[in-house]
Symmetry: C2
Subunit: 204 residues, 2 copies
């Protein structure tokens, strides 16, 4: 089973996340984002969050799909991911998770590795590209010249790449962002690493 | 001497970065951002970058303030900061550095600690808040309820906070983003840490 989660960042404008949302076999909406769906007359399958930010008439309208999770230690995106996993939905595409507060953007991107550790097969589609968490060495499909950034959330990870313009050879990244602005040399590239996680960004 | 650098992300729309730009005693423009200034009929004091992305007629128009830096290992924002420091300008405000490609946003925020290590007294103003790099323990002015996020670029930093809603007591952050979504309890808060750096975000 696959779900698309609409987070409470900027509503997508690029066709890739937008089509993913429109074609979602199961759509999970973080509570603050419901007003965007209202405008498009789209009804999600589930509406998840602490429900603090939902107006009363919307709570009433959507009461049959409301899933209240008051946990103050997780954000609404994490609540939506937990709801999916609790319902045995492990293939998860996140849209609308960037583009407002930058600290939320960084947090939501960092959380991807938590979601992978929770067992989700997850990716985040933004208006510019896609983020994937990686828990183990991977070969990733690409195109020649595709822009690639590698993020190391904990800086312990020893990395070796193949088929990237600026190769990394058996090294850690001293700070999380120091693997940005690379480029694929072909229709795939390889990242070998341990112990992980890593988060990869591919520009569309 | 103080300079404002306009980076090549989304042009500011919030009054705080916009006023900083309009009132800049010295305005340094990263090359790709010059078209935004053209539209506003603002002439910067310096136009810095690899100049790959500037149209020929603009190169000609601005030739007296062009500073060509072809280094392929740094981005245009870093070239602009280096230009400032090379001209003995150490008070630097960066605007327009977020809001397009998210990997650029993460990279530009991470670079703040590099700029601090280079000797700059630097902050980044976005449309939602301000980012500061910290190299040593600090007391930071705030208001009650102000949203605060703490980023640890290298995860080695042992942190203790005072006057934040979710205190950190003599701990490292396991991943760079795990200090997000905190809140100030008063008109200031304290962060003691070693060895650093840290990057702090304050929502306006």
């Amino acid at each position: 089973m696959k779900a698309v989660i609409l987070a409470n960042g900027e509503f997508p404008s690029h066709p890739t996340p937008l089509n993913e949302l429109l074609d979602a076999p199961l759509l999970v909406c973080c509570d603050g984002a419901i007003e965007n769906l209202e405008k498009l007359a789209i009804t999600p399958n589930a509406l998840v969050g602490d429900l603090d930010s939902i107006k009363e008439h919307l709570k009433k309208k959507y009461q049959s799909i409301l899933h209240h999770d008051p946990d103050q230690n997780t954000n609404d995106l994490t609540k939506a991911v937990k709801w999916c996993i609790g319902n045995r939905i492990n293939d998860i595409v996140i849209v609308g998770a960037t583009g407002k507060r930058e600290d939320h953007t960084l947090g939501n991107i960092g959380l991807l590795s938590n979601y992978a550790r929770m067992g989700a097969n997850v990716k985040m589609l933004t208006d510019t590209g896609v983020f994937y968490p990686l828990l183990s060495s991977s070969t990733i499909g690409s195109y020649v010249g595709q822009q690639v950034s590698i993020f190391s959330p904990n800086n312990q990870t020893v990395i070796t790449t193949k088929n990237l313009k600026y190769p990394i050879e058996n090294k850690t990244l001293p700070e999380f962002w120091m693997g940005t602005l690379n480029e694929s040399l072909g229709d795939k590239f390889e990242i070998s690493f341990s112990p992980g996680p890593l988060i990869i960004y591919l520009k569309y």
